[in-house]
């Protein structure tokens, strides 16, 4: 396999793998998320349920495109393709960053969900007390 073929194959494989990893992460959290959202209205439940995979796929894609092959030592396409160590290192950096962004995505989603659940319960308790 030439360096250029490796670059093309690894680039699209990592991009596809990142999307699959995001969908797998969302699938792993889907069942407990559905239980957590059980008491909410159907529209809120559907929105928050659909939001998670979208959020994670965007995080994975953002991580993927934020890694560049071009740097100080490799300013042209030819210099990137000629350096096989740089190609492999960049691929690893893309993989590492995708998982880092996915972890951050899950963390921020969980934090936002906690705040949302607390505010929702406060609001529904306050409205129940207002009706009495």
């Amino acid at each position: 396999m030439t360096n250029e073929q490796y670059l093309i194959v690894s680039y699209f494989t990592v991009a596809g793998g990142g999307i699959v990893a995001a969908m797998a992460t969302a699938a792993l959290l889907r069942a407990p998320l559905r239980n957590a959202l059980g008491r909410l209205s159907r529209s809120a439940c559907a929105y928050l349920g659909r939001f998670l995979p979208t959020w994670l796929v965007l995080a994975a894609l953002l991580a993927f495109v934020s890694v560049s092959y071009i740097d100080c030592a490799h300013t042209t396409y030819q210099s990137v393709v000629d350096d096989d160590v740089h190609l492999v290192a960049t691929t690893h950096r893309q993989i590492g960053r995708i998982f880092t962004y996915l972890a951050i995505g899950v963390f921020t989603y969980a934090l936002a969900l906690a705040v949302f659940l607390v505010v929702h319960r406060w609001a529904s308790t306050a409205s129940r007390q207002g009706h009495r």
Binding site: M1, T2, N3, E4, Y6, V9, S10, T25, L28, L29, P32, L33, N35, A36, G38, R39, V81, D82, D84, V85, L87, V88, A89, T91, H92, R93, I95, G96, R97, I98, F99, T100, L102, A103, V106, F107, Y109, A110, L111, L113, A114, V115, L117, V118, R121, W122
Partner: protein, 127 residues
């Protein structure tokens, strides 16, 4: 134009990387098993959060796993062709340093977030 293996590394480096990924996942799993019970109890302190307890515990597991993958997937075993076995072990130990650091960050961030939420809410029961 240069030639490159489809893995981007030779077999010994691939084996080292694969073993390192497995080792990182095992460490993340052990950390999760140690923390699972206390995290469940902590989240059960407040009834506003307790209904989503299963989600938050699963989220902790997923974050630990992703942090382990992030570090182990982003590291290379870049050794000389005639590298000795112990050189691979040293490289793995050096990389494990970063895995443990990432797991500590996840645990720390998670604990701080939950504790701040619980401090803000206090113990809450509906009845």
């Amino acid at each position: 134009m240069g030639e490159i293996n489809w893995l981007g590394m030779d077999f010994a480096e691939f084996l080292g990387s694969a073993l390192f990924v497995v080792m990182s996942v095992v460490v993340a799993w052990v950390v999760f098993m140690v923390l699972r019970g206390p995290a469940r109890r902590l989240l059960g302190m407040n009834s506003r959060l307790s209904e989503a307890r299963a989600f938050f515990v699963r989220a902790l597991f997923v974050m630990l796993l992703l942090a382990a993958f992030a570090v182990s997937g982003g590291r290379m075993f870049n050794l000389a062709d005639d590298a000795a076995f112990m050189e691979y072990v040293w490289q793995a130990a050096g990389n494990l340093d970063d895995v443990l650091g990432a797991l500590m960050l996840v645990i720390g961030g998670y604990a701080v977030a939950i504790l701040v939420l619980l401090l803000g809410l206090g113990r809450y029961r509906d009845e």
